[in-house]
Every structure is written in structure tokens, then in C-alpha cells.
Symmetry: C2
Subunit: 233 residues, 2 copies
């Protein structure tokens, strides 16, 4: 059994949260747009389906098309034991994943506060204002929340091993460090549990091959972008 | 058994997606901030918890605190049969709920494109630009997507009876009609399946008492807001 993943081929973006789960879970998959190009993704998106995706990423599994990052991860978590199986653990991991998704959306909207279809250059003054609020209020609020959640758990978010939400939290921190290196450093310094979780995922034996491979895409001009003028300690 | 719901007491907001599911499912609950006021909600948010909510709404059920609207609905859907029980149906309803949540977030950011902590009056020029894009691109894209999903289903989103995502889609259309009456009318006119679903939920026998009661809050200055200057056909 192998899954087909579809996501934009040149950015980590939301696809990376799915890739990390697939890789850490040693789950067989093809990354189709990376094999066949963005044109193949555009063509696949136009295929009529019983349940069409609104946007990538989406996963084709056993004939089902599953979209929305947190929904794909919910499926993988249940099917491949990448999250606790009990009710409290499942809801906890899903709740955290949705909160991570909220912060990812906000990190994107910092450089695109007016419209995703316009260039950053067309919305720079608005981006500067939104970045100021994101740095002053949102980065501390989200990171301190995740720290607070970790204070009530062990080394991992839920249970005694990693879940897909641990992997996503690692990726979120990676993205924030790329996009807002100064501000992220000054906030995360006071979040020892979050720093410990980031390090634990970065050194996870299950991920070492992947993280060193060219399957792991660097950040560039996707959701997490580094514009020096939008960052400050 | 009864649940405790916590949400801001004066707006429908994200809490209303949960209320509609509780009411249509004839599930016993207390709406605590409406009984005890916003101060009680603020106090409850400060209570230390194993899994703290990032923000309302949250539901206290069997000792668990469950937050994130789509996560609460996933729980209620499984526990009270408000969604199909099979894998494809569960994922379909969750995927759709997450796409509804994305549009709700965007509808909010039209009037608050810079910062949720500032007043609309502090970000009016930015809101005017974002509204232009929301009307031209996002309202058609989302509504035509939901219409396309409904073309592949019967009268309801998944299966032969309503699910919580059907209720949420009704509420989303209600909110859009309040906030952007002109633009919503001109786009939804070409979405007959969506109009049919809205009508089917509006006339659902299970909801008639609720919709006529004062438990059903009117839209005002919450997520969906009507600023005439942000709307146009």
C-alpha cells in the first residue's frame, strides 16, 4: 500500500506537516507534484471527484481523496498510530494541530494581509503594520500557549511518544525562526519545554534520513518568508 | 449527562456552529457565559487545565476540556451521530468543516486585516482593499466550491441525513448574507444546491424551536459584521 501526496512542489508549506508524519511514520508515499511538476498538480486538481479538495495538500489513500492538513493528519494518526488512540489523546492532538494551523495562517497573512493573489510588493505598508502586531502580540500569545500545554505533559504533547502534532510544532518553530529570526529567538528563549520538544524532534532517529535528504525542502517564498523589514527583536 | 459550553455571550461567532449542533441533536447543555456573563468566561479561561483552550469556544464534557470549533464538532459528531460513522463520511464532514472555518476566518479578517486587537476604525483603508479581494475572488471561490461538493452528494453533504457540517454551512451563508448582502446574493444566485441546503436547514424540524428562541443570537459586531462600505454586488 502506498499513498499519493499532492502539494506545490517548490515550497515546504502546508505539505511539509504531512510529509513529516509520513516520513517519521515510515509510511510509503509518492510526492507526485515533485515527481511530475506543478502542471501535473494543476491537472489533477481539475479532475472531477466525489470530494474535491479546496486546495493542496491532499492525499489519495485507498481511493479516498483527503484534503485539509489537519484532516489528513487525523487520518494518518488513526491509521498508523501517530497519535494516541484514546478519546482524550485524539482530541488533544487534533485541537493542538488546529491551533498550529491557525498560527500558520497568521504567519502567511503577515506578508499577504490584503490578498493572497497579489504580490508582497503590492501590500508592503499593510504587511509592515500587520507584522508589528504579529511580533508584539501573536508570536508571544501562541508560543506561550504551546509552552503552557507542554507544562502539563511529559516530553511529548500527548502520551509517552511523539505524535503528528509534535512534528508539526517542530515545523512551526522552524518556519518562525526562518521568517522572524529575531523575534522568535527573543520569545522562545523563555519557553524551555518548547525548545526541548523542538530539539527532540530534530534529533528523532526516525527523521534523520529525511531531514538530511533532498526530499526536505528549504523555506523560500512560501508561507514562511523572511523579509528583514518585517522582523525585529 | 449535560455539557458546559463556554463562548463570548453577546455574538453568535464560532460558538454558534457548536450551538446549532447541540440544538439540532437535542443534546443537553448549559451556555455558561450567557448565564453568568463574560466575566465568568474570563475567569474560567484562567483556570489551570491539563489541556487549556487557546480561545473560546470550548466544551466541558465528561471532565475533558475540548476546544477548537471543528474539534468540538468532531467529538459531538462521533458521540451523538451528527456525522456518518464510516471513515469516508467522517473525513468528508471534517474536511468540509475545516474549509468552512477557513472562510469564517477570512470573513473576520476582511474587517480586521491588520490586527484583531485594534478597532475597525483603525484599519479602514486596509479593510476596504481586503474587502475588494474577498468580494471579487474569495466569496465566489468558496461558494462555488461548496456547490461543487454538493453536486456529488444528495440533499445533504454526506449521507442521507444532515450532519454538523450542513448546519455550519447554513450558518456560514447566514453570516455572509448579513455581512455582504449584495455580493452574497449575486454569487449564491448561481448555486442552486447551496440554496437548497440552506433552506433545508432553515426549515429543519429539529431547529425550529431554537431558531425562534432568544437563545439564537443575532449578528452584530462579531465575526460577521455589516459595514455597507465593504459590500457591493
Amino acid at each position: 500500500m502506498s499513498y499519493d501526496l499532492w502539494y506545490w512542489p517548490t515550497i515546504p508549506g502546508r505539505g511539509e506537516f504531512v510529509r513529516l508524519a509520513l516520513e517519521a511514520g515510515a509510511i510509503s508515499y509518492r510526492d507526485l507534484a515533485r515527481e511530475e511538476g506543478a502542471g501535473a498538480l494543476a491537472a489533477d486538481l481539475a479532475v472531477p471527484r466525489d470530494m474535491p479538495p479546496f486546495a493542496p495538500p491532499y492525499l489519495i489513500a485507498d481511493g479516498l481523496t483527503i484534503a485539509q492538513t489537519a484532516n489528513i493528519l487525523l487520518f494518518l494518526g488513526e491509521r498508523h498510530d501517530l497519535a494516541p488512540g484514546n478519546l482524550a489523546g485524539r482530541l488533544r492532538v487534533n485541537q493542538l494541530q488546529l491551533t498550529i494551523a491557525d498560527m500558520v495562517g497568521e504567519a502567511h497573512d503577515v506578508h499577504h494581509p490584503i490578498a493572497g493573489g497579489l504580490f508582497y510588493e503590492d501590500q508592503k505598508p499593510e504587511a509592515a503594520r500587520r507584522a508589528e502586531d504579529f511580533r508584539a502580540n501573536r508570536i508571544p500569545k501562541f508560543l506561550q500557549y504551546f509552552e503552557r500545554v507542554l507544562l502539563h505533559s511529559g516530553d511529548w504533547i500527548a502520551g509517552d511518544r511523539w505524535s503528528y502534532a509534535d512534528l508539526s510544532l517542530f515545523q512551526l518553530i522552524e518556519g518562525l525562526r526562518f521568517a522572524f529570526p529575531k523575534r522568535t529567538a527573543s520569545v522562545i528563549r523563555d519557553c524551555p519545554k518548547l525548545l526541548g520538544l523542538h530539539e527532540a524532534v530534530a534529533t528523532l532517529p526516525e527523521l534523520q534520513d529525511y531531514l538530511a535528504s533532498d526530499r526536505r525542502l528549504p523555506f523560500s517564498d512560501g508561507i514562511f518568508r523572511h523579509y528583514p523589514e518585517l522582523d525585529a527583536a
